[in-house]
């Protein structure tokens, strides 16, 4: 077989490229085989943005972590999956975590706090209602067993209106419709319903999470998000948790410093417009890895605030007894 020099060079280059591609795909396969698989319990809620961003940017894969995203409609459903061993890491509203702690569950630990979303949750009223007192005899819609519910109970309790306002259980997606059709006079909601109600004409924000009684002293909102790990899994995969947290807080930094860039990836998760997405990212305060030790220090202001929150849940008869929150905090992976 006679090959010209040019043909020989082309063939050699093609063979080399094929070999290189093969080698790199083998290396990729080997990496994938070595990767630690993490079942993550997520949703389109902003507390899950760092995990989603870290997964979509490839940062988790580069750290040898294969994150499997499982979606849940509520924190309680997600925590049930943690109990049954289906989820290894999840972001959850603290109320669900506190409810489980109150039941004595030792299945999970709080390892980090991703953000504070106090400015995108609040109580909306119609124009003309200028104070909580003006809500006397009116109907307030809120999703029961949510952080907004706790905010509403706290605000009404502080104003001495606990028995004077009819608090109705309305699912979060139905709140904008219910207030528009006049079925309720006020609504306590969080983003994205928060943004939708705020955009309605004739509505105004009467109070947000920063008016919550525990916020001023402890910087704790009614239902802060926490990142939890399933203990049985984390004990065997400590290094993976450490790597995970590193990548996770890199994503938090992107959310804090480059919201426009982060928004591009998150639109696929949330279905929001680019503008709304950027606004929602900016609506939360994203914590850093360096802040975690201070936040989760016990005794410390934030953990004390979580403890007061647990006691408040008992006062409002949402849980039977307040757990000692610090027993569920584990900073060893930070």
């Amino acid at each position: 077989m006679n090959l010209s020099r040019r043909k020989f060079l082309h063939s050699s280059a093609a063979m080399s490229a094929l070999a290189a591609a093969g080698a790199s795909s083998f290396a990729g396969m080997a990496r994938a085989a070595d990767a630690t698989t993490i079942q993550y319990g997520g949703s389109a809620w902003l507390g899950h943005y760092p995990a989603y961003l870290a997964m979509k940017s490839g940062a988790l894969a580069a750290a040898g972590i294969d994150q499997q995203w499982q979606s849940f409609g509520t924190s309680s459903a997600r925590m049930s999956a943690v109990l049954s061993g289906g989820i290894d890491i999840a972001c959850t509203g603290i109320v669900s975590a506190l409810a489980l702690m109150a039941r004595g569950s030792k299945h999970f630990s709080i390892v980090a706090v991703p953000e504070s979303f106090g400015k995108v949750e609040g109580l909306f009223v119609r124009d003309g209602v200028n104070s909580l007192q003006d809500l006397k005899g009116k109907k307030l819609g809120v999703t029961f067993a949510s952080s907004a519910h706790l905010l509403a109970l706290d605000l009404l309790g502080s104003a001495g209106l606990s028995n004077d306002v009819t608090v109705l259980n309305v699912p979060a997606p139905e709140l904008p419709g219910a207030i528009q059709s006049g079925q309720i006079d006020a609504a306590a909601a969080w983003t994205p319903q928060f943004n939708r109600i705020r955009a309605m004409t004739g509505m105004k924000l009467l109070a947000d999470d920063t008016q919550f009684s525990l916020y001023k002293k402890y910087n704790v909102t009614p239902g802060p998000d926490v990142l939890i790990v399933r203990n049985a899994w984390a004990e065997k995969n400590g290094d993976a948790v450490r790597k995970y947290l590193k990548v996770y807080f890199d994503a938090c930094q992107t959310l804090r410093d480059k919201p426009d860039e982060a928004a591009r990836s998150l639109i696929a998760l949330t279905g929001m417009s680019a503008l709304d997405q950027i606004e929602t990212i900016k609506g939360a305060d994203w914590y850093s890895l360096a802040q975690q030790t201070q936040l989760l220090k016990s005794p410390g202001s934030y953990v004390d605030g979580l403890q007061r929150l647990a006691e408040m849940l008992v006062t409002y008869k949402q849980i039977d007894k307040a757990p000692a929150v610090r027993q569920w905090i584990n900073t060893s992976y930070l």
Binding site: S76, L83, E174
Partner: protein
């Protein structure tokens, strides 16, 4: 071989003993750690919760709220379904006209009506009644149509030959002949309406057994979840007994 039938008292004792053994085994499994009480609470914890909620009146309030919703939706469904069903059962033209609509409505679960009912009736009690109504109406209608169609045509012909008017045939022949089957069907529909009320109470409810179960689930209060389930069973049993009594009274000629 002489097979003696066991007495009623013996059978009742066997039933009672099986319940006691079941409850003891359940309690024992929870107490010894075979079953984590977080996943399934012991019967004693459920009983404690029942006593506490009876004492503060919340249990009765929740049972009554659900019963009111069930009965309103169920009665509304039967009031519409019985005359309409008899009409469809006796007229092949009416049946041909309504059959496609009925075939569309019948397989729809009560849950699927929630979004539309919220738009139509908002977060009111009417919305909850409508969920029970929509979940039970089509099955009730089918039972009535079938019961009417099963009436012996000879009876109808004989009545007509004796000069009975259409109304008399309906009142004196079709209704009495189909009533036992209609009532049997409605008894099943009454059970079905309890599943509908649970769907109805998933949304915008502040009380009721469905609300109790869902709220218990949110806070991992599994004894409240089990309590809600037990109360549904007890309430269905009680309404079934009441229904049987009504049935015996209405169908006196069958006794």
């Amino acid at each position: 071989m002489n097979h003696r039938q066991p007495s009623r008292a013996t059978l009742l004792s066997v039933g009672f003993a099986s319940v006691v053994v079941f409850l003891l085994a359940w309690e024992g499994a929870c107490r010894t750690g075979i079953i984590d009480p977080l996943f399934l609470p012991p019967p004693s914890a459920v009983a404690e919760k029942i006593v506490a909620m009876m004492a503060d009146g919340t249990l009765l309030a929740n049972v009554l709220a659900s019963t009111r919703r069930v009965m309103t939706g169920f009665i509304a469904a039967t009031v519409v379904a019985i005359p309409l069903g008899i009409m469809l059962g006796t007229s092949s033209y009416a049946r041909a006209a309504f059959d496609p609509i009925l075939s569309f409505l019948r397989p729809l679960p009560s849950m699927s009506w929630i979004p539309l009912s919220l738009l139509w009736f908002g977060i009111s009690e009417t919305q909850k009644y409508s969920i029970v109504f929509m979940g039970t109406f089509a099955p009730a209608l089918v039972y009535v149509i079938e019961a009417t169609r099963n009436v012996d045509p000879l009876l109808i012909r004989a009545a007509k030959n004796l000069g009975a008017s259409n109304w008399q045939v309906m009142r004196e022949v079709i209704l009495p002949a189909s009533l036992p089957q209609i009532l049997s069907g409605l008894k099943i529909i009454l059970g079905l309406s309890w599943t509908c009320v649970i769907s109805a109470e998933l949304v915008a409810a502040r009380e009721g057994l469905g609300f109790l179960i869902m709220n218990g689930k949110e806070f991992f209060q599994t004894e409240v979840v089990v309590l809600g389930m037990v109360m549904i069973s007890v309430t269905v049993l009680v309404t079934d007994i009441v229904f049987r009594a009504i049935e015996r009274k209405v169908l006196r000629w069958q006794a």
